[in-house]
């Protein structure tokens, strides 16, 4: 009476075990990647009705973010500019007014244009906060959180894309360690800003000014001023956090109201 199962089957469990081990490792790796913030929405780059180039406007021309996104300092919502803002420069007879790329703008603004409709330009929204999360742009921008922290170096993007996965952990990381992001208010829209470029004396003078503004007695920064070497983000962030009393809340109701 021969064996029903051939001899090689005795090695099968080991082989299966190794196979399962490999597959498990791959599965865990894939899942881990899927669950990381990089995956979520980052890289989203829709085609816009007008191929607006931030590299030219914000990069070469050095236009401030707030020229177009006007409400960002005052409102919870940062607006996408309306066609009138574009029209300021691109109206008939001004910059590149004949460019075919600007056709949607003329349709919106140029009453003499044959294709005039008056309809606004249908910009595609890239960064979208979900309904269940409350986010206030102004409170961040007015406390030294730069645009670059969430949106990346937009001034280097030919076509804007979703640079960072804005998951909940992304928000939380910053709320837990805000000193990694804070910078002087005048540098908030400077996307190329580097902490080491900041002059030590000027920074502490700025800090002293901040404290005075609050009516309290200014701390003595003479020791820090006397130090050598370039400023670091950590030093700037920590001092600003103290000066502004930044204490980002972490409980659920902060965002989920």
């Amino acid at each position: 009476m021969p064996n029903f199962f051939p001899r090689w089957t005795n090695w099968l469990p080991i082989k299966i075990l190794i196979g399962l081990g490999c597959m498990g490792t791959i599965a865990v790796a894939v899942l881990f990647w899927v669950f990381t913030p990089e995956y979520s929405r980052a890289g989203y780059q829709p085609q816009q009705p007008i191929p607006f180039e931030h590299t030219i406007h914000a990069g070469q021309l050095g236009m401030d973010c707030r020229y177009c996104h006007t409400f960002v300092e005052d409102s919870a919502h940062s607006n996408v500019p309306n066609a009138q803002v574009c029209w300021n420069c691109h109206s008939t007879g001004k910059v590149l007014s004949d460019s075919p790329k600007l056709e949607p703008l003329r349709q919106a603004m140029d009453v003499n244009y044959e294709g005039y409709t008056g309809e606004p330009i249908q910009w595609v929204q890239i960064h979208q906060t979900p309904d269940y999360a409350y986010f206030n742009h102004s409170v961040h921008v007015n406390r030294g959180v730069s645009c670059v922290e969430c949106h990346g170096k937009v001034n280097e993007m030919e076509v804007v894309f979703h640079a960072k996965g804005q998951s909940m952990s992304f928000c939380l990381e910053c709320h837990r360690e805000p000193e990694k992001a804070l910078r002087p208010l005048d540098q908030v829209t400077n996307l190329d800003w580097k902490p080491e470029d900041l002059d030590r004396q000027a920074f502490y003078a700025y800090l002293t000014g901040l404290s005075k503004g609050h009516g309290a007695e200014a701390p003595d920064y003479s020791e820090e001023m006397a130090e050598d070497g370039p400023l670091t983000q950590k030093e700037i962030g920590t001092k600003l956090k103290e000066a502004w009393s930044v204490r980002p809340p972490e409980d659920c109701t902060t965002c989920h109201r």
């Binding site: 009476m1 064996n3 029903f4 089957t9 469990p13």
Partner: protein, 180 residues
């Protein structure tokens, strides 16, 4: 190529094989086994086998589960994201609330330790085995009481061992061969 693998001796009852096992044990055989349809009570003693140390493996598994659970809960609830919910503190004093999950994971890891420990201890799965070539042997899963002495045993000698098995009261003895 074939060679002798073992003698397969059949016995009529649990009592018979119990006493035969005592004799085989006393004769000094080492590589032998008793195959029965159900675990015969006291056979470990008759074969001179000690206690199974599977329990030690399971204890280790349980302790691993216990530590994993406590680490998981303390790390996430106290260290990583302390949230005050249900009016419970976010420090060591909240530990009663961690007991249920700690308990469950201890049991879960222990059970896995039983499963994998057992498979390792009995060296299964092994689907191909020379004994499956024996018709006599196949009765072990029905009502056969089978005593097997392997040829690898130092004391194994074809003629003597067969005679010895018959003298212990075996009702039939068969030589099983294996391919190699």
């Amino acid at each position: 190529m074939k060679r002798a693998f073992a003698y397969v001796a059949e016995f009529d009852s649990a009592a018979a094989i119990y006493h035969a096992a005592e004799q085989v044990r006393d004769a000094g055989y080492k590589k032998w086994d008793v195959h029965t349809p159900y675990p015969v009570h006291g056979m470990d003693h008759a074969m001179g086998l000690g206690k199974s140390w599977l329990s030690g493996v399971v204890l280790c598994g349980g302790l691993t589960g216990f530590c994993t659970a406590l680490f998981l809960q303390f790390f996430t609830q106290v260290d990583l994201y302390p949230t005050v919910v249900q009016g419970k503190p976010t420090n060591l004093n909240t530990v009663p609330a961690f007991f249920p999950v700690t308990f469950e994971l201890t049991i879960l890891f222990s059970a896995f330790a039983v499963l994998f420990g057992l498979l390792a201890f009995v060296m299964l799965p092994r689907w191909n085995h020379p004994l499956f070539g024996s018709k006599k042997f196949a009765r072990f899963s029905d009502d056969g009481f089978i005593l097997v002495i392997e040829a690898r045993d130092a004391k194994f000698q074809e003629a003597d061992t067969k005679e010895f098995l018959l003298s212990t009261g075996a009702s039939g003895v068969e030589l099983v061969e294996e391919e190699f």
